[in-house]
Symmetry: D3
Subunit: 235 residues, 6 copies
């Protein structure tokens, strides 16, 4: 099985992502980035700038025989449109993380790297229909870029806010609200092991869900995502 | 006051829209279309194709001193991104229609020109947070293009489905689920006058709401629609 | 267009309301009060005392050719009954404010002059079907009468609670929970301009919505508000 | 224990209600009607006409030592205001019926005597916070007055609609949507015994609930129903 | 009328419960415990251990002519299965308490003896369909066993948390989240009388509701609780 | 990875289940049944009879080194209690199927083998928090046992009801409401391929989800499922 992780931001040259630990031996994971898009996705506008390249990269992946595509962003950019055009499953990181979280406990809280995107965690929960399981959003006040600096102090911010989510808000599961938080997931999980509160990292969750859906021989519903009719389009 | 009605489809040359009847004497309404986009908007993909031109046309309108922008489509394409970038109010036709409908009665049903976009009426109601007031969706099985042909028989289809919505589904208000249905609104309203069930036409509703919000000196919340930060973007 | 602002409290002699700023040049706004009713509306009982005079004043306004009636109270007293008896639109201040707020942001908080009416803000949000957008209610602990004294200190209380709503509760829009707060709306908006959080003043919102609905040629649904049958009634 | 059943319509001379079967031996049930009000309650306006006499009759009952008041109407007229003014429990027939129904099964359907009041059953379910348990409303098309004529044919209408609610809509409990349906409750229950679907008659439900709440030494919350302050009121 | 209070824990020899105050003179209340079960019910596992003995004791009570059974535990253990097998009403303490609370005010908060069962109060509210009325859960950090020691200090903990529920969370009604809190109910009610916030004790609430439902001649719906078919079962 | 499929019914000797197609090459699936339990699970009572053997079989599997347990029943029997006692993931077939369905489309309908268990499909959707995505339940009127007879005619019943769900109810995804329907899943999927509506078979869905959750290194939250304390228990 071949999965493509499509990151909805501009390609960063010279950087290779760590191999995922959450796949079966027969799964091969490839990575792709955008040629047209934004440096990071922190707004709807950032989504829009890369939205047509997302579609293009998705169509190319399908032609090349990939079995499924994972959108490597908690905000699930371009998700409905990609599903309209593609037959293979397209799984968003935020959508997958919240569904996995929903199966592990009665509620979840999201750790959000924000600001600036202080509104998006609620919107993602609403868009995937799981708002009623959202206990709280805890803000790290870092921004996506801030996530790539100063490992230990960022980890400590995460631990601090995760503990507040658990102890003050009553969170039963913690969801990381940005796939850029992936490098912290393992250390954070270790630190919180005694609380018995699972930490869900969205990219891994989406890769695992994509694998499941491929093995089940399923894909998204054409009733929800009808194939766009041919018509005049100028882009 | 100057309002711009921005239609999220390719400019159709040689066509002038009828002047709206629902504005105050001091309101001037202009119309704009896309240079890059799709012929009609019946899918998320159609939205994506024109999404950056929507932003551009919006920014230009703001510079030219327009007081508000109305998105002339029930599906509210590009709405969140335009609000991020613009300071003047941006009002979507679907969003405005459902809020007006919500103030006129206990529930509403939507007349949907579909197929093909059999899923969108529910999605618009969910996106604007008024799903609990949606009594039913009634499908005309025409498609957006079908709406421009054969006036009397289309009107009869609308009357037939509107009556089913009222009598079988218990609809208290009827919302037209496409701004392309505008030419039928008046005749449909006349036909149904005896039922006392209001017919809400979404473009008119959005123009009226835009006017109201401008007069109130209001615009969208920056907490919901934060201004995108400067960053590298390639489109 | 002629709008009547009907204030559901006893007429206060010698007081003239300031002309509204939110209307088109062709709109004339008149004011009316009750001859039978309570001094202020802070309970259902206060509503009941004036409820039949509300109906009477409404019927008289319709006979005199008014195009719509605005109920000048956040609690929307007598709203369903007036709609049953009148054909012209009747718009409640609380209902209009929450719908406008719902279009400006993802959620709203209400500034409530309470006590004593500590329960009503939630009830208004529930009654108009927008409870899911209510982020919090912040109480000024003044009472309606307290609102008319000591301008600067009341303004400071409002600013303080509005900031708590924004910073602690995550409010995206602030709704003033009493039309008696109108004199503070402008100053409060100025103070909070840097937050980008709109302040919705309910009387202005209702006047603007009434104007919109009249221009759209709409009124409330007879399916939701059937005309009462003739029968024996002793009052 | 002394309970007062207060019927929110004009007193009908020469008519004595049948003694209720659902009370304990130590409970005495009295009946009272309005001197100012409407002949039947089929609209908000009908409620308004008698609303102050409801308050007056309630206050008098409390002074006379009644332990609780039951409002004999499915629409729960004057309920919040009576609770504001009275210390003894005030129980509405619609509210009690839906809560009892909610404890007997997963959902309920309402048999509504309508027209004309085709909107009220939904509104009552929403007002008491049990809309999510409402499976359907089935209309008898009789009107309240129609209920007092032609016993067998009305009973057959009820059986027919109750069976449709059970078989077509999947109703698990049937609630009679008008206390005027009381004379049919027993026969209807017998007819439907084989289905195992309970029939809840609202007046009996409210009398039983009132008795329970009195025995528990409870009454409504002052936080939900604060006592109205003294002020100038002219009625 | 004969009611059986069935406590879903192992029989404690030599202990006689105080006679309930909330029943009519013609009601006789008996008590029964389990021979197979757990010492206390603080987990689903504790429920499972006694679940078949609950059924057995229920069937025996029905044979002996009891009119209804009250499950003496806020968690409503074995409730759906007992209803499947029995024809007489079976009322759970948690379910009854939340429905009574729902009729007394706009919302309620639960006082939970937890830990360890920090998740159950939310789950009970969700299971009975009243989550939207749950304002907050306040934890006493005692455990069920802790409730039987040190009367005054436990009472003070309850008062402290009840006041926080009222003043910080805005609770309108307080529900005791364990029938083991019964000995504190009266003193707690006295202490909070000035707030006008009712205290609902779940065992009393369930006894009163059971009495009501018996007097109404009602029982649970067979559509919700179908009688199990005969089949091979080994236990 | 070793997964145990635990079927909550009495062992049927001489029957070997077909090997699942939906697992990775490194996954080994074993099957276990109950020694104490019911022949089929069609009621809460059937669940209760086997509930302690479920726990025992689960504990034994954990000791034997299984990585996760799948409960082979759409009704998710014993799920919360097993999670309390076990550290390895426990996944219910109904819960997994509805979460997978939720990711594939805007809504789903359930094909229910019922009667007799006409109420359970709604209850499962409510229990897992996805009621708002349930479009309809379509009943086959077979019962669980009926599923094992007469292949072609049962398949035709399924096709017929699935098409009604799609065409009349507007279902976007079809979920099989019993793991006993597994033999029909492939043929049904083929038949409905042209509609683009996915068919979710619950046992396969649960096996795939269990595999995912094991690979992610996750398990259920101890905040939602606290480990039961030691105490006296007699079973």
């Amino acid at each position: 099985m071949r999965l493509l992780v499509l990151t909805p931001i501009l390609r960063r040259e010279g950087w290779t992502p760590p191999p995922p630990k959450c796949v079966a031996p027969d799964v091969e994971v490839s990575y792709e980035w955008l040629d047209r898009g934004a440096e990071t996705v922190e707004s709807h506008y950032d989504e829009y700038v890369g939205i047509l390249d997302m579609i293009e990269k998705g169509l190319k992946a399908q032609e090349e025989g990939f079995d499924a595509i994972v959108i490597n962003c908690f905000l699930n950019p371009a998700l409905p449109g990609m599903r309209e055009l593609l037959d293979i499953p397209v799984i968003g990181a935020g959508e997958a993380a919240l569904h996995i979280a929903s199966m592990l406990g009665d509620n979840f809280s999201i750790l959000d790297p924000d600001p600036p995107h202080r509104t998006y965690s609620h919107r993602v929960a609403a868009a995937v229909g799981l708002m009623h399981k959202l206990r709280s959003v805890r803000y790290l006040n870092l921004g996506v870029k801030g996530l790539s600096q100063d490992f230990e102090s960022i980890l400590n911010r995460m631990i601090e806010e995760a503990l507040k989510a658990i102890e003050e808000d009553g969170a039963h599961v913690i969801v990381l609200g940005c796939t850029g938080m992936r490098p912290y997931a393992e250390r954070l999980s270790e630190k919180l092991r005694d609380y018995g509160v699972p930490i869900v990292e969205p990219l891994s969750a989406a890769i695992a869900m994509a694998e499941s859906i491929v093995r089940l021989g399923l894909s998204h519903s054409r009733a929800s995502y009808p194939k766009p009719a041919d018509k005049k389009r100028i882009s």
